[in-house]
């Protein structure tokens, strides 16, 4: 039983560290340690229950160990702020008034398309319509839109350049080639494609451009007609 206690503790701590390192992508509405407990407890209960050759006490001791570790983590989580940041993590502001914070995105193993997807799920389609967007410690996504943001979302923006790479399907959708957009980028003072964090364009020709480490720009392309 002492062995089960030690082994369960080791598995718990290992899983917990891995979950914390994986970032918010792997968590959904649960604190990392809660997810670890959910992963472990069902197996711990099932194996001795289904396998007659394993004493039931093995499962009970393992579950008691999980309970004990949960209580210890809870004490640190609720009473010590620095420990809370280590155990549960803190909210990550991935989009602010300067645009997308790719350092925060990478820290959580996310990319720009994940952020855009999360925004769309929340009902926001244009990146420039948002003042702040953040992933909560438990993986939930929240966004604070600009005043009158609905007026900024008149057409669906599509990604043209995502972290230095063209999206070929969306290029075809806009009926323009790479050369056209490279000229646009040059016009905005961006000589290298790899410096572009994100570039989106909507059906009206409104462009959202953000270069790595810089504030985003919004401008309009000289399109004769509305494309979608």
């Amino acid at each position: 039983m002492g062995l089960i206690f030690i082994r369960t503790t080791i598995v718990f701590i290992t899983l917990f560290i891995v979950m914390r390192l994986m970032g918010k992508r792997q968590i959904g509405e649960m604190q990392p340690y809660e997810l670890v407990i959910t992963l472990l407890i069902s197996e711990l209960a099932c194996i001795p229950m289904a396998d007659n050759s394993i004493p039931l006490l093995y499962g009970i001791i393992a579950i008691l160990t999980i309970y004990l570790l949960h209580q210890i983590v809870c004490i640190f989580d609720l009473n010590f702020l620095s420990a809370k940041n280590i155990l549960s993590g803190s909210a990550s502001v991935v989009l602010n008034k300067n645009g997308i914070d790719d350092t925060q995105l990478k820290k959580n193993n996310l990319d720009v398309s994940d952020l855009i997807e999360s925004l769309r799920t929340e009902g926001y389609f244009a990146l420039d319509a948002i003042d702040y967007a953040l992933y909560e410690a438990e993986g939930n996504f929240s966004a604070l839109p600009k005043k009158g943001y609905e007026g900024m979302q008149t057409s669906l923006p599509v990604i043209i350049v995502d972290e230095g790479k063209f999206d070929k399907r969306n290029l075809e959708l806009t009926k323009r080639d790479k050369g056209y957009y490279l000229d646009v980028l040059r016009g905005q003072g961006c000589d290298e494609l790899k410096k572009v964090l994100v570039m989106t364009v909507d059906g009206n020709g409104k462009v959202y451009l953000q270069q790595k480490g810089q504030k985003y720009k919004v401008f309009h392309l000289d399109w004769k007609e509305k494309l979608w």
Binding site: F5, I6, L57, I61, L68, Q71, N79
Partner: protein
């Protein structure tokens, strides 16, 4: 907060208490079983072991097994059952040459089983 701390200490107490009891009980039982088997081995070796001696060891083992099932995997105990039944069968027909290696296996098991579940680094990993 106080309730959580109390619950931590109670759980820790239950786990540590159960672990200590398990280690002591398993070691003590197998130590005693080993000494019984050793005397059976000596008797078998000298050709003086009777069927009743084997049955006595079997009775002791069956009695202890009821409690050992609570803290050891049943498969670990099944091997002892098998070897003991074979050894007693050999003693019944006074086939000491066949009984001796079986008692020897039992002696080995009585040492290895508690060691397999003892508290050491090798078993943790």
């Amino acid at each position: 907060m106080i309730r959580t701390i109390v619950s931590i200490f109670i759980t820790l107490g239950v786990i540590l208490g159960a672990s200590v009891c398990e280690i002591c009980y398993v070691n003590q039982t197998f130590h005693h079983f080993h000494s019984i088997l050793l005397s059976l081995y000596q008797k078998t070796e000298s050709g003086t072991a009777a069927y009743e001696d084997g049955v006595a060891v079997q009775t002791y083992w069956r009695e202890k097994k009821k409690t050992l099932h609570v803290c050891l995997p049943h498969t670990a105990l099944q091997e002892v059952d098998y070897q003991l039944d074979e050894a007693v069968g050999c003693l019944y027909v006074k086939d000491y040459d066949s009984a001796l290696p079986k008692v020897e296996v039992l002696l080995g098991l009585s040492e290895s089983i508690p060691h397999s579940y003892s508290f050491n680094l090798q078993n943790i990993f």
